[in-house]
Amino acid sequence: MTATLPAPTLAAAGARRPRVPTSLLPVVATFVLFVVLFAVGSARYENFGSAQVFVNLFVDNAFLIVLAVGMTFVILTGGIDLSVGAVVALSTMVAAKTLQAGLPAALVFVLVLVIGATLGLMNGLIIHHFGVQPFIATLATMFLARGLCFVISVQSVSIEDPTFRAIATGSITLPGDVYLTYSVLVALLVVVVAALVLHKTRFGRTVYAVGGSESSALLMGLAVGRVKVGVYVISGLCSAVAGLLFSFYMLSGYGLHAVGMELDAIAAVVIGGTLLAGGVGYVAGSLLGVLVLGVIQTLISFQGTLSSWWTKIFIGTLLLVFIVVQRAISGRRPASRSTGA
């Protein structure tokens, strides 16, 4: 595969035939992987190859899709956000506690989103203005958010609010008796909006430029600072949205919700073909990455005899394979850069 990589680029440049650009290859690879995994499942287990199983991938992973979208923005600039799982937990906690106190659901949504965006803003400001490494700054925020959860309550708080429950349990029935939740619609909306922002706005182009080369972007007069802070705000906001979706899913708030979910989000983004060095990647890839993780989980639960911790091992192995492939591709960075940015 690696040997044939430069060929499409050259061909596309020379003959202008419609070919897949190099930066899209990992996304295509992830898509193929997803299709293969799903086909294997359908062949091996009855009931696997149904529309409902496919839709359930979205239903069960709606929050992870939103998280991965936020993470994509951050990783595209060459950063990383480890606080997302903790912000999800904090969001569930705040939602559960304020609903318990009798606040209307609409106000709770706004409050949670504001908290998420504020934490993201804090990350961004620390990283950009104080030159602290993203990894370390968001690690501190992760501690902070988890700690705040336990300050609010050590116990799990269940959500009883009727409006909130109605939204959480409400479902839409598609033709063919396939049902999906409102969370799925929210997640898909986030994906579409994110894709539009990345590809149709000045902000989005600057995100790619900063990831490609921060100093070049700065020399070009792009608003590097604003974008670098902005991506963390977006990630914080996405974490808050994911937190709300997770509260819909669990109907409770708990400080130990979503432990390690930041790693799932990073894994999904990487498997979706986004380069960790920044500058190359697509939101659609991250969506596919989440679906691949979801289908692995479904496969293992259908198998029944495999213990659930095999999921972790499989995800780890898959992550490794994709990183090694990434490494092989980014070894030819000049080629991929020219089509990617």
Binding site: H129, F130, A140, L144, G147, A267, A277, S307, G316, L319
Partner: protein, 378 residues
């Protein structure tokens, strides 16, 4: 280098006064923080500093801090060298869990689960496996050239799964005196402290009395230039990851021996965070190329004291994380280039004759070239 344990000679010009020298040293902040915590604790409970001898064992809050801090200190030592080569090892928590799982499973499965030989072979197998895991991390980073955060993320994700697989998802308890000796035994001092101390002294001697430490730093500053200068960068990077896994394995033995059990889910959970924080508080630059083992030790003790403080002062345990986070954020901000530069400006206003702004780091983190740029030929 004038003194083996004080890093960053650039910050200490030859003619500097003692005061300026102290201010320039990166050890000041962690030492100050630790001192502040100890003083605060003593004010809160006057018996805090008391150490008493009972049945030939030392007891007291200070001994407790040292004992509970030993695993973090050990892991942080390994992490220091990894970070000095501009890397990071996220997998230490998972390695802790694997070491615990292997030892306890081995002991529980041996013909005589209480014998010393079962404990010894179990521990040897666990450490050997940890070395293999270190080799694996090192292979990914040094040979395949994968970013360290991501390379070790693989083992971090998969590692706990492996530990679960070994213990079959159970919490395995063992009752073996030789094994618990590692975690809760006493030779006047708790054995855990002595073990950590031995590792610390060996590493300090190896890295500061030989050229090894210098080589590690040079790899951290510029791996390519080091290679061209005739260093085996690859071998050095590989070695630090193996060492880090070894430390994590040893810490895993301590942790599981202390509770006589292996819990694949919770053993060493979040310990990588504590270790990294210890290293950073200790003044080691995350950008690589400069490290301080003494600083790391101080950092680990600071973190452990912080945890203990929360209990002694009577702050609710659930606030611990917030408290830690606030302290850590404060430390990072104080260490950041911008704040240091501001301090330097303040200092210069007081004494304008100083030759260089020595409190500003020689190489601010933000100004370093990013890896992607170094890859491209232009």
């Amino acid at each position: 280098m004038t003194s083996p344990d004080l890093p960053a000679p650039v910050e200490r010009p030859a003619g500097a006064s003692l005061g300026a020298r102290v201010r320039g040293s990166r050890l000041v902040w962690p030492a100050l923080a630790l001192l502040l915590l100890l003083v605060g604790n003593t004010i809160a409970s006057p018996s805090f500093l008391g150490v008493r001898l009972q049945d030939g064992h030392l007891y007291g809050s200070l001994v407790d801090i040292l004992k509970n801090g030993a695993p973090i200190a050990l892991i942080a030592l390994g992490m220091t060298l990894v970070i000095a080569t501009r890397g990071i090892d996220l997998s230490v928590g998972a390695v802790v869990a694997i070491a615990a799982a292997v030892t306890c499973t081995w002991i529980a499965g041996s013909p005589d689960p209480t014998s010393a030989s079962a404990a010894l072979t179990g521990m040897a197998v666990a450490i050997a496996l940890c070395l293999v895991l270190g080799l694996w991390n090192g292979l990914l980073v040094s040979v395949l050239g994968i970013q360290p955060i991501i390379a070790t993320l693989v083992l971090m994700t998969a590692g706990r799964g492996i530990a679960m697989l070994i213990t079959d998802g159970q919490i395995i308890t063992v009752n073996n005196e030789s094994f618990s000796f590692v975690g809760s035994g006493f030779l006047l001092f708790p054995v855990a402290i002595l073990l950590a101390l031995v590792v610390f002294v060996v590493v300090a001697l190896l890295s500061r009395r030989t050229a090894l430490g210098l080589l590690v730093e040079s790899v951290g500053i510029n791996p390519e230039a080091s290679r061209l200068a005739g260093l085996r960068s690859r071998t050095i990077i590989w070695t630090v990851y193996v060492f880090s896994a070894f430390c994590a394995g040893l810490a895993g033995l301590m942790i599981s021996a202390n509770v006589n059990a292996a819990d694949a889910n919770n053993a060493g959970l979040f310990i990588e965070m504590d270790a990294i924080l210890a290293v950073v508080i200790g003044g080691t630059s995350l950008a690589g190329g400069r490290y301080s083992l003494v600083g790391t030790l101080l950092g680990a003790l600071t973190i452990q004291t912080l945890t203990t403080t929360v209990y002694t002062v009577g702050i609710a345990p659930e606030v611990t994380l917030v408290f830690k986070a606030v302290v850590v954020i404060a430390v990072f901000l104080l260490q950041s280039a911008r704040v240091r530069a501001a301090f330097a400006r303040l200092g210069r206003r007081g004494g304008p004759t100083r030759p260089v702004p020595r409190t500003a780091p020689a190489r601010p983190v933000a100004a370093r070239p990013r890896p992607a740029e170094r890859v491209s030929p232009s």
